[in-house]
């Protein structure tokens, strides 16, 4: 069984990172966080708490207004937007409708100059990882929502990134599909030992998936608590999700989250 002890080598460090959009409120206020290699970290909080902003900052899709990001182990984000050591999964599958499943997954490699034939093995491997081997030549419109999300995950993993960023990836899916994808994501993560940062507004999802939950609050977006879920993986075989320990974790996180809601209108 895999240890949930934090790995000593940090992958990325946020040092008092703030983000203010033009003429907007402070989207993120002085976020400091160290993410270790092989962590499964959830950013949890209500709308407007800056969790997606934090993710985009780490991805290098937007620059911090103040503070700095550090990558101690390797220069992952040297220049803006030359980052193939990183996978990103959006809330929507974000597939190119004119391209087949294969071509969608090939995209990160294609942009790096890998020809179709040379990419073939890697792409099929990534498709196998998410269980879509048979669907390589199918167009996205022929797939269900869950399968599209799987393609999106395969595309994010095709470069074998060390860091996988996921922005509420399963929020739009039905309960059963989400559970299946959660379990599949965990087993891929355990097998390939990359780091995951998972943005979600679901307490249950964050407790089930992660070993660390960063609880965030809105106006201004900030971190208010970190909760560790020191439970062994795999979690789906151990009845973790129906155990009293799971409930205790959920209660703990809900209490922390409740603190974020004080003074916030109940709009969701």
């Amino acid at each position: 069984m895999q240890s949930t002890e934090p790995s000593p080598a940090p992958l990325v460090m946020l040092e008092r990172v703030s983000k203010r959009f033009a003429n907007g409120p402070l989207a993120l206020q002085e976020m400091s966080l160290t993410i270790g290699a092989h962590d499964f970290v959830s950013f949890l909080g209500p709308s407007g708490c800056g969790k997606s902003t934090a993710l985009r900052l780490i991805a290098g899709l937007t620059a911090p207004s103040a503070g700095a990001l550090r990558w101690p182990s390797a220069p992952m984000t040297e220049a803006k937007g030359t980052n193939r050591d990183l996978g990103f999964v959006f809330q929507e599958p974000t597939l190119m409708p004119w391209a087949t499943v294969f071509d969608n997954v090939w995209l990160p490699l294609r942009l790096a100059g890998v020809a179709r034939d040379a990419a073939n093995g890697t792409v099929r491997e990534a498709l196998a990882m998410v269980g879509l081997t048979k669907f390589a030549s199918v167009y996205p419109r022929e797939l269900s929502g869950g399968m599209k999300m799987r393609v999106s995950i395969a595309r994010a993993l095709v470069t074998h990134p060390r860091l996988l960023l996921m922005d509420e990836p399963f929020a739009a899916l039905d309960e059963m599909t989400r559970t299946k994808l959660n379990n599949d994501l965990l087993s891929i993560w355990r097998e390939h030992r990359f780091t995951v940062i998972f943005v979600t507004h679901s307490v249950y999802e964050s407790v089930y998936l992660s070993n660390r939950i960063i609880v965030m609050a809105p106006r201004p977006g900030r971190v208010i608590d970190e909760i560790r879920i020191d439970e062994p993986y795999p979690r789906h075989t151990s009845d973790f999700h129906v155990s009293s320990r799971y409930n205790d974790h959920v209660k703990r996180v809900q209490r922390a989250l409740h603190g974020t809601m004080i003074g916030v209108a109940v709009d969701h």
Binding site: A59, L61, G81, R84, F88, M96, P97, W98, L107, L111
Partner: protein, 281 residues
């Protein structure tokens, strides 16, 4: 008749197939039927009331006139076809290039878009006489007129199309360090294609209108002229059946252009874009 195993075992699939075939046949037959009924009604109206052909010729007479004067009409048809296609080609090249410049630079768009709008909203009949005065060659003048009419839908649709690429996909391309060319070729062009083809369908019809209107304004006569000149000539000579014959050719040309571009859109978008997908029942 071809049958796949599914349709043999599954009556529901069979019914679906039948329904689909019936719909496909209906799509072609129904409009043809309406046109046929209208033509028969027209023919009957003329014959029953004994309307003289210099007021309203019967469809049969129009077709006869067309066949009899084919030697005279064919070169004119060819002239109009050439003019229309050249104007459309120039509109595609010009519209797409200007749209790309607009997409690349907000300031180019802000500076030039009003001019494009002015060209579009000023009626071509009003500018055509000026163009005919300033441009020596009549053929070039006609081409410019038809181009002005046709290029705007290409321009505006392509501009919208180039801007319509999914913002998350743009982020993704940025994340993987795509070069501007990669982004253009693999993201912007496919995203813009449905809009461009929509513009092309409109521009196809407009370039024909532009070609005909410009020729009317030019009032050119002689050998090297198009269908519009044939219509004008016959009108001066009150050869009404000949007017209808030339008009028929203009309409047929428009229909052929429309069908050709609809087929092109189907070919390029049929496998992925909503506008060309048949909804599953």
């Amino acid at each position: 008749m071809t049958t796949d195993p599914d349709s043999l075992v599954n009556p529901a699939v069979q019914a679906l197939e039948r329904g689909r075939r019936r719909e496909a046949a209906g799509r072609v037959l129904l409009p043809l039927l309406v046109v046929g009924v209208l033509l028969l009604g027209w023919e009957a109206l003329v014959r029953v009331n004994g309307i003289p052909h210099y007021i309203l010729p019967a469809p049969s007479l129009v077709v006869q006139t067309l066949v009899k004067n084919w030697g005279n009409l064919a070169p004119s048809l060819w002239f109009t076809v050439k003019l229309t296609l050249m104007a459309l080609g120039a509109a595609v090249v010009g519209g797409v290039l200007i749209a790309m410049a607009f997409a690349l630079s907000k300031w180019v768009e802000i500076a030039l878009f009003p001019i494009a709008v002015v060209l579009q909203v000023t009626p071509i009949v009003a500018i055509a006489p000026l163009i005919l005065i300033y441009v020596d060659s009549t053929a070039s003048a006609l081409l410019i007129c038809a181009w002005i009419v046709a290029f705007f839908p290409i321009l505006s649709n392509t501009v919208i199309g180039l801007k319509s690429a999914d913002s998350n996909l743009r982020d993704l391309y940025q994340l993987y360090g795509a070069t501007p060319w990669q982004c253009f070729r693999w993201l912007l062009v496919p995203s813009a294609l449905p809009y461009f083809l929509g513009g092309l369908k409109i521009a196809g019809g407009l370039s024909l209108i532009g070609a005909v209107v410009a020729e009317f304004t030019a009032g050119a006569a002689g050998r090297d002229t198009g269908l519009a000149s044939r219509i004008l000539e016959s009108s001066f000579r009150t050869e009404i059946p000949m007017m209808f014959a030339a008009l028929l050719l203009v309409s047929l040309l428009g229909i052929v252009i429309f069908i050709a571009f609809a087929a092109l859109a189907k070919l390029l978008l049929g496998h992925w874009h909503e506008s060309e997908l048949r909804r599953e029942l």
